[in-house]
Symmetry: C2
């Protein structure tokens, strides 16, 4: 449960620091707006509050729904004076009827009570329930950019004051909700002169609302259909959430930070597993399974390592009704789980190399905002852990695995990445060095670490005594050289972010559970039963021909759904090719193939289906990769002087700079870029003004002018540059 003070911390993190947010005005608890006004009357308001504050009402309404439907409340945030006619609103939202929610719904759903309800109650809604809430914002609030608006920070005995832009930023910062709907109640009333409804002209002359249409254009309204309402370019977080849930990839779960990976997404992970597992077997890596429980004694054995993970470790302390004698950790990664046994198993140089991998779940109890696939408290991954006699072998393997990771992204997901080495600051806790592949999300201009492969050096082997006698020198002890490397379900999130569009998901063909969806089209009432059957048969024949050629094809022959509905259904899910067969196609022994990535049509003769579809799938893959590669390349800007650095970031670029490779300079880059962004640019909640971190030092330095010793200088500090490095805002 959020408390008023943690809420205020959250608001501060969102840079919502208007007058009164940090120190609410205290007063007696109130139950309605009249009491509230009375309580504040004469109280001294916080310094920043200029002008008369605007009082608001926050209503929680309940539509009439069949009992089998989940509770789907509507929250209306309106100025006190606005006439929020519920009949008109119900009509506008296409709901049967709206009534005030009862105390049970307020307490059960919003963990609040009458009088205390405010927009901030939204943060108390369980994640699993959020997509069922409709949020309505009075257009007069949206239009009023100057006034301070009074709200309760969860309790009705306190009041804070925020501006409308801050209110909207807060709502957007919450995960899992549908986009809010801006409603012009005055216009609604004039539109809906329903007999039962009293004429609902605005009561107050102060209303200078923009027309609802304009407000709606800025903030797309939504009624809950199958399609995607949010625009990728305008409201990326909502877009991402809608694409994931409406494509049936993901479901929000009632434990925060955890998500359900549905079959449509799980197939992607399955494809990655099949490819990668096959490749590492060739490298003689064997699969195994270690426990997910770690005793604290073992977990804490490598100091640097545990310092990196300790704040995120989840602890089991109870079983049944008994307290455990010692708390037991859930693995955040398995170095310390495995290596005591490596020490036991590795007795002689003949026991080396030891190469193990496991596909498992790990737990990192992040307190930052969770995000499906990208930052979750439990996630699936593989972790490889190898031990070698020689440094060179560990070097080579770390790179070989990194290359496999790149191939997963490029060859399966059609996502370009850059191979490189992490800076000292950004390397894995306890590693000798870390290599990574780095991706790029064009919509936000942020880099993303796509996978890492570490040469652990001898750090862990010394700590855990993984050592053998030198086979060449008697009585000389050699510590093993180790690697560890991991690839997680984050892959899926990156794939969605890079390829998705405003119609939904765009699935790279090689990982799509269905590669071709065959849809019977053009059947009308005038067609005979034989004609219908002929078309359906043609669809199934086409699918069979494709399946026989190893292509994953299905027919959508559901009755009672129009072709248009089906087109939309499969577009949202991103199926690479839609194959349409109608009466005319049947005559011409042809089919219509529609590419999901470009939405272009082509005609494929039935006789050439398997061969042409197969090559079209490859073309789609190559085109998707080429497009994303061009976009990433165009946004990797070579920056030669600091003045260009922050403007490039603000322009959604990743910066390539000649760099001195010093941690102090890296810190400075982060601080300076954060400060300058905040100073120079208007705040934009969608592209947060975070500082730039080093992403990697690319292995391929040849794309840039050679570094000349003593001549090429670091862009930030002016010291001698050592290399080119990628810096950017990142996930």
């Amino acid at each position: 449960m959020t408390t008023a003070s943690t809420l205020i911390e959250q608001l501060a993190a969102l840079k919502i620091t208007s007058a009164g947010v940090t120190s609410p005005v205290q007063h007696n608890a109130v139950e309605n707006v009249a009491d509230w006004k009375a309580e504040l009357n004469g109280k001294s308001l916080p310094d920043g509050v200029t002008g008369a504050p605007v009082f608001t009402k926050t209503l929680v309404l309940k539509p009439k729904l069949p009992k089998s439907q989940p509770t789907s409340p509507v929250m209306v945030i309106a100025k006190d004076e606005t006439d929020t006619n519920m009949t008109s609103l119900a009509k506008e939202l296409k709901l049967k009827e709206l009534r005030f929610a009862n105390a049970d719904l307020l307490s059960g759903f919003f963990a609040t009570e009458k009088g205390s309800v405010s927009p901030f109650s939204l943060s108390q809604v369980a994640e699993a329930d959020r997509s069922n809430v409709t949020i309505v914002v009075d257009s007069t609030i949206v239009a009023d950019s100057e006034s301070y608006i009074a709200f309760h920070p969860l309790v009705s005995s306190q009041t804070i004051f925020v501006k409308s832009s801050e209110l909207l930023a807060y709502i957007k910062s919450l995960n899992g909700f549908k986009s809010y709907v801006v409603v012009d109640f005055a216009e609604l009333a004039s539109k809906n002169s329903a007999p039962a409804a009293a004429p609902a002209a605005p009561k107050a002359s102060s209303q200078k609302a923009k027309p609802a249409a304009a407000a709606a254009a800025a903030e797309p309204t939504t009624t809950n259909t199958d399609g995607i309402q949010a625009l990728k370019e305008d409201d990326f977080p909502s877009w991402y959430q809608q694409v994931l849930t409406r494509s049936d990839m993901l479901e929000y779960y009632d434990v925060s930070g955890c998500y359900i990976i549905r079959p449509w997404a799980f197939h992607v992970w399955d494809s990655i597993q099949t490819f990668f597992d096959g490749e590492i077997r060739k490298l003689k890596v064997k699969n195994c399974s270690f426990p997910m429980f770690v005793s604290s004694r073992v977990l804490e054995r490598e100091k640097d390592h545990i310092e990196g993970f300790a704040p995120e470790v989840a602890w089991v302390t109870k079983a049944g009704s008994s307290d455990l004698e010692e708390p037991i950790a859930l693995r955040p990664t398995s170095e310390t789980v495995m290596y005591p046994y490596y020490a036991k198993w590795i007795r002689s140089h003949r026991d080396l190399p030891l190469r193990l991998n496991q596909w498992c779940n790990v737990v990192r109890w992040e307190f930052k905002n969770p995000q499906p696939f990208l930052r979750t408290r439990e996630f699936l991954w593989q972790e490889g852990h190898c031990a070698y006699l020689h440094e060179r072998e560990a070097d080579e393997e770390a790179r070989a695995i990194l290359t496999l990771y790149r191939r997963v992204y490029e060859e399966l997901l059609a996502v370009p990445v850059v191979e490189g080495r992490k800076s000292e600051k950004e390397k894995f806790a306890g590693a000798h060095y870390t290599t990574s592949i780095e991706g790029y999300i064009p919509a936000t201009g942020r880099g993303i670490q796509a996978a890492t492969s570490h040469n652990l050096g001898q750090n862990f082997s010394k700590m855990f005594d993984i050592a053998v006698e030198d086979p060449d020198v008697t009585a000389k002890k050699l510590y093993a050289w180790q690697t560890s490397w991991g690839l997680s379900t984050r892959t899926i999130g990156v794939m969605v972010m890079v390829h998705g569009d405003n119609k939904g998901l765009v699935m790279p063909p090689r990982v799509s559970e269905i590669q071709v969806i065959v849809i019977p089209c053009g059947i009308t009432v005038k067609h005979s039963d034989e004609q219908r059957k002929a078309i359906h048969d043609a669809c199934h024949d086409a699918a069979k021909a494709l399946i026989d050629a190893g292509i994953r094809a299905e027919v959508d022959d559901r009755e009672n759904y129009s072709p248009g509905f089906k087109f939309n259904h499969w577009e949202v899910r991103g199926v690479p090719i839609r194959l349409e067969i109608g009466p005319k196609d049947l005559e011409k022994k042809s089919t219509v193939a529609v590419r999901r990535d470009k939405l272009t049509k082509s005609f494929i003769p039935v006789s050439e289906l398997a061969q042409q579809v197969s090559s079209l799938l490859d073309t789609i893959h190559n085109d998707m990769l080429a497009k994303a590669t061009a976009e990433f390349a165009a946004n990797r800007k070579l920056i030669q002087k600091w003045e260009d650095f922050v403007p490039a970031l603000n322009n959604k670029a990743i910066c390539v700079i000649p760099w001195c490779n010093r941690e102090a300079c890296e810190d400075e880059i982060k601080t300076r870029s954060a400060n300058e962004t905040t100073l120079g640019q208007p705040e934009d909640s969608r592209a947060p003004s975070m500082g730039a971190k080093s992403l990697c030092i690319p292995y391929d330095q040849s794309a840039y002018p050679p570094i000349k010793a003593g001549e090429t200088k670091c862009v930030q500090c002016g010291k001698d540059a050592e290399c080119y490095a990628l810096f950017g805002r990142s996930y």
Copy 2:
């Protein structure tokens, strides 16, 4: 950490209840035997203690080992008067040197201190360390069956008295240790008249030790080699543990009840996954991934269900250094995790059937003795969860899956099982009914539940509101019919127990990571380099021919290891076929194939390798299955009168009885069979005298005389029999 009082509970559970065990004699803490005798002098001893108690010393010794070796202490349990000469002992145990352990070792390894050391300190040794401990028992203790022996129950301020048989039973009850070694110190001393050692004749005339050889035959001594020392028929628990660890299938882990599944065992699981996953895909089941965390609110929603699991649920209550606001459970199974979302996703009959599966880990924090693969606190499994519109569909699926489970056992693991339905008492918590396959472990005569498939009926759908409108009747609500079904890594344990022999594991060919191991043989110093090379080449050619034919073959061409060493190495690991190629075979263009299951030899011409080996692998599979099937069949005894029931159990049989199918009668069978066993038979720690439970009501009732209504009576209660049921002692 064990405390004295929990130790006493453990001893009571082992039926070690000798005089003084339940209420130790309290005294001042002592540091040596002299003080101890003084402390007890004049104290009134517990009632049962007759005769003068025997005082003992428990010594912890440390052999000199290279630093890279793990700590491997030797514990000597001897009568106080026995001269435990360390030099002789070291020689006998083939150790370099033995010294007294220091305080660090006592506290770090045994969690004890000088003066408090006793055999009971063994229960404090971490599981991972146990296999490194050598336990030596003075033969004069073993021989003295009458006296009460004094020991400290973990603290030196208390004394309990046990008989020697109870001491040995206690030691055997501990998991993870090598078998203890019985040593006749008197004989050692006479054998080793080493110059430095003082002549070590027995000091006390009371010694009537059996010769060490006899003791050793009864309790096989062990020096830590690669092979299996314990005999399957004599000491099944030690045998099982040795087979698992020495075949590199499993490693003990430092969190109790958790184990490391090493690649040699994981490949078995992998093979099962590949087969079963392919089969359920044909049934249109899709894979997905649900979180392992469950909120208590959701977990507790189905009352019967949670009652079944609550005592074993592990709870996360802390993350980093913060307490969670609400404890979160780790899934023991996923019904309540998944079904709230089934309710959300299933809105219309068109959303049915919904068929999902996940391969994952689950946690059941059992407080009973853990056992690798069979009863572990975390285990791997698949769990399928389907929802249907009609009862019939759920019935059919539950059975279809059960048949797949049977096929996993029979077709992959060569293990016979019986398909049947569980009694009401034994069904899954919350299910409508449970079907299961039941296996049989000949060595212990116990049944084992091998997998279960449940028809959940509408119990969960009513609780979670998984309902649709009847497609045929307007406004009629239909609750879904559900199934859930699971197969776990228990499979591996059953496979090992059924097939293993006194040489180690016997791997069923279809799941063995290596099916054929090719070993160059017969090379001596008189052979030329060319001859050596020719043999090695022939081995690699043979392996290649096999691999090309889809057979998993490898060459063991390690230098410095004799063929005999290699034979033993792969026999312990159970590789189905050993292929030997020596100089004479080379001449004859032949090979020698040795079957692991029967240890028989045959000659296979090089030209027919692929074909003959392939068919030999099938023969081995069929022979293994046939042998186990015959053994199971021979031990399923049709019992017609109660007097034969317990004798059959004691004879390691499973009883098939005409049964009334009433829970009260089932309870009675358990109680009666337990009581009669204890009364009639001598106690045997290896075949525990537990009562018989119902295993299943076999689907195939045709093997037994038809049940005649009103005529055929229940064997236990004499009421009308409804069916034949399998009863037995079970895991």
